[in-house]
């Protein structure tokens, strides 16, 4: 061993450092993106910002399938204003910077009529300002509270999926009454998770409970036991919501951590979206509860609308692909794409939409909407749209894990999910 630090062959160290710098530089390169050619002006073009790659990929695949299914049903029935709908899908890599670029491509390169379909909240927050500048209606399917909070702009709407604030507010009474009042929250460390943290904490306090620990986990994390060690011993209820490719690991390690002495557990199905609930290691969830936006498993009182929707999207009664029972869907979220497309259809028809110059009229037509009836256009149930906050409200489901399936035990009313307006977008100029 040599203790002198001079003459230590700097070339080697330098080359390693260069390598590290190169990794950094290379990771900043944009992904490979094929440029589609602009088509004719005849069909109504909907730019679909899809998480094909990155941490949102499982959602992206099913958002894509649901969107295609809805567009097929719409086109088979004569399209919108007699014109066929064409989906122009672009991958945003579940990345906010790329998201803004994709919105720009829709507006300038593809000459799309509107942009649609974004789920992950950080991508929405990264893309919406660009949509506002380009004056292109941006219909997100994200669940984030960022639309109704007033953080975005008049061009951004969320008419097809409910937001986190309304969801958690409707869950808190059930949790406090049935599971316990001392809650430890485990959530992903970005905007969506922060919505959960802030609004559930407030909602449970109204029920006389409180959150005794808040554990934030980066959405790219791959191992979780180290976080579970922070759960206080006097926790009565674990409230978990997780996203990203490692969700299955997250839930499994939670089971291994608790062993035979688990507290009550309430989770958002996000923690197990696209995951087969019969996977070994998930048995400990028996008797725990989940929020579901849409029931993954067909319920005993299955409606005709649900049968129609499942057949159109191509999922079976277990919420898995009809062609591959191992390919489990993101059933609790993807219905939002279906309903959003029908809102767009209704909006364009009400506005007499003909082309990009009618974009403002389209936004105004959607803002004028109020109630939406349950039916093929709205298979998840009836809805109440708030034109001022650009946010829709609907029923929420709580399901119990029973024998590897989720059985609905409670369905909230729409009133349970309402809260005072925080913004009036209709007063903003276009």
């Amino acid at each position: 061993m040599v203790s002198k630090k001079s003459n230590s062959n700097p070339a080697n160290r330098r080359s390693v450092l260069k390598g590290m710098a190169a990794i950094g530089a290379a990771s900043a390169l944009p992904g490979f993106v094929p440029f589609a050619e602009a088509g004719t002006n005849e069909p109504i073009k909907i730019g679909f910002q899809v998480h094909r790659t990155g941490i949102g990929a499982a959602y992206g695949r099913w958002y894509d399938r649901t969107t295609k299914a809805a567009v097929k049903v719409i086109n088979d029935a004569g399209g919108i204003n007699g014109r066929p709908v064409e989906i122009i899908a672009e991958d945003d890599g579940t990345d906010p910077k790329r998201g803004a670029e994709v919105v720009e491509k829709f507006a300038t390169l593809h000459k799309a009529d509107i942009a649609f379909g974004t789920l992950f909240s950080h991508v929405v927050i990264g893309s919406a300002p660009r949509a506002g500048e380009l004056k292109i209606p941006y219909f997100v399917v994200s669940e984030g509270h960022h639309v109704a909070s007033g953080m975005l702009n008049r061009w951004t709407l969320q008419p097809g999926i409910t937001d986190v604030k309304s969801q958690v507010q409707a869950m808190a009474p059930f949790v406090a009454a049935n599971l316990g009042k001392k809650v430890t929250m485990i959530f992903p460390d970005f905007a969506f998770g922060h919505d959960h943290r802030d609004y559930f904490s407030a909602a449970i306090e109204k029920q006389g409970g409180n959150v005794i620990a808040k554990i934030a986990i980066p959405p790219t994390e791959t191992s979780f036991t180290k976080y579970f060690a922070k759960i206080p011993r006097d926790t009565e209820v674990i409230y978990h919501v997780m996203v990203g490719p490692a969700v299955l690991t997250f839930v499994k390690e939670m089971g291994e951590f608790f062993g035979p002495s688990r507290p009550e557990i309430f989770g958002f199905i996000d923690s197990l979206e696209a995951v087969d609930l019969k996977t070994p290691g998930l048995e400990f969830l028996e008797g725990t509860y989940f929020w579901e936006g849409y029931n993954r498993y067909a319920q005993p009182d299955q409606s005709d609308v649900d049968r129609f929707y499942r057949a159109a999207v191509g999922i079976d009664n277990n919420g898995a692909s009809v062609s591959d029972p191992k390919d489990v869907s993101t059933a609790a979220h993807m219905w939002g794409c279906w309903e959003t497309l029908y809102v767009i259809k209704a909006g364009m028809e009400a506005a007499g939409y003909r082309g990009p110059k009618d974009r403002a009229a389209l936004v105004e037509a959607v803002e004028a909407m109020t109630t939406m009836a349950e039916g093929r256009e709205h298979p998840q149930g009836d809805k109440l749209f708030n034109g001022k906050t650009h946010q829709v409200f609907g029923h929420q489901n709580i399901s119990r894990f029973e024998g590897g399936k989720l059985v609905r035990v409670h369905r909230t009313s729409i009133e349970d999910t309402l809260y005072p307006d925080e913004v009036d977008y209709t007063k903003m100029s276009f």
Partner: protein, 308 residues
């Protein structure tokens, strides 16, 4: 959790991390030591190991243990063969020039990652562990009646995690035996010491290089196969191991196997312990700070040797 059980849990988690990191970093260190190639694609070979493990385990079916053992043998072998081919096709044509190979391995990183995305897809897939029993760990406390043992809440590990630690120790010993005791190791060390002289003594340096590159990649793949029943195979999983391996190799000393193992245990354990008690972000900050300190005050690394 109380401090004692909390610390034990942190150490156990750190040990598992350190084990996998040791194997991955050994591969990177070996390639750098013998070939002077900074392999930026090393993390992708790790990822390929995990993806192949999923492929092998799911196509064989049957009991999880059969699929896992098959993956343990086949996946590193496949990755090794791929890496040998990459060396033969790409790196050899650049004469293993230190600067140009950096660019070439960045290219390999993207090619491997994108091909995986296009074939395997963007989803994460688990591999069933061959066995996985939860093991509760007892702790003690002094009460009025003297020493008492009890099982604290949450203090546990699984039999599979312990197996990962044991397997990494065995594999690490294997690498050491190979380098220090076998004829192949002698050839590798000779090539590392002086390429020209080794060539003059009739050592087929080009073949040694290809073999080393393959072996280094196979070590990363082996680490990945061990970790994939705990985590999951995903096309983006190569980033963290690459960064951590670089950190370990710089701290341990470029090309020094002993330093690499020691640094991997140090970084893995401190990562585990700091993550549990404070936050994973702080763990990364401290590791990076340590790298900066080593570069400033001891540029050859803790165990690095000055090349002759």
């Amino acid at each position: 959790m109380e401090f004692g059980p909390h610390l034990i849990l942190a150490i156990l988690e750190g040990l598992v991390q350190a084990s996998v990191l040791t194997l991955t970093a050994l591969g990177l260190s070996l390639v750098f030591g013998v070939m002077r190639v900074v392999n930026v694609a090393h993390g992708e070979f790790f990822m390929l190991g995990a993806v192949f493990a999923y492929g092998v385990a799911s196509s064989i079916g049957g009991a999880p243990v059969v699929g896992f053992v098959a993956a343990l043998i086949i996946a590193p072998l496949l990755v090794g063969v791929l890496a040998v081919a990459a060396d033969w096709l790409i790196l050899r044509r650049l004469d293993h020039d230190p600067e140009r190979t950096i660019v070439a391995t960045i290219g390999m990183l993207y090619v491997i990652q994108q091909v995986t995305l296009m074939t395997y897809g963007p989803d994460a897939h688990p591999v069933a562990p061959p066995f996985n029993q939860r093991i509760a760990i007892p702790w003690f406390e002094f009460t009025g009646k003297g020493l008492e043992f009890y099982f604290p809440w949450g203090l546990s590990t699984t039999s599979y995690k312990l197996f990962v630690v044991a397997a990494a120790i065995v594999a690490g010993l294997g690498v050491w035996l190979l380098m220090a005791r076998s004829r192949l190791g002698l050839i590798l060390r000779a090539t590392q010491l002086d390429r020209e002289t080794a060539l003059a003594f009739g050592i087929p340096v080009a073949r040694v290089y290809a073999l080393t590159f393959g072996f280094g990649a196979a070590l990363a793949a082996l680490g990945a196969v061990l970790v994939v029943p705990i985590q999951q195979a995903h096309y983006l999983m190569g980033g963290d191991p690459l960064l951590l391996s670089f950190i370990v190799v710089i701290i341990g000393g470029l090309g020094s196997l002993r330093g690499t193992v020691l640094a991997a245990v140090l970084i893995g354990m401190s990562n585990g312990i700091i993550s549990v008690f404070f936050s994973p972000t702080l763990a990364k900050i401290l590791a990076t700070l340590l790298v900066a300190m080593v570069l400033v005050y001891r540029p050859q690394g803790l165990f690095g040797k000055k090349p002759a």
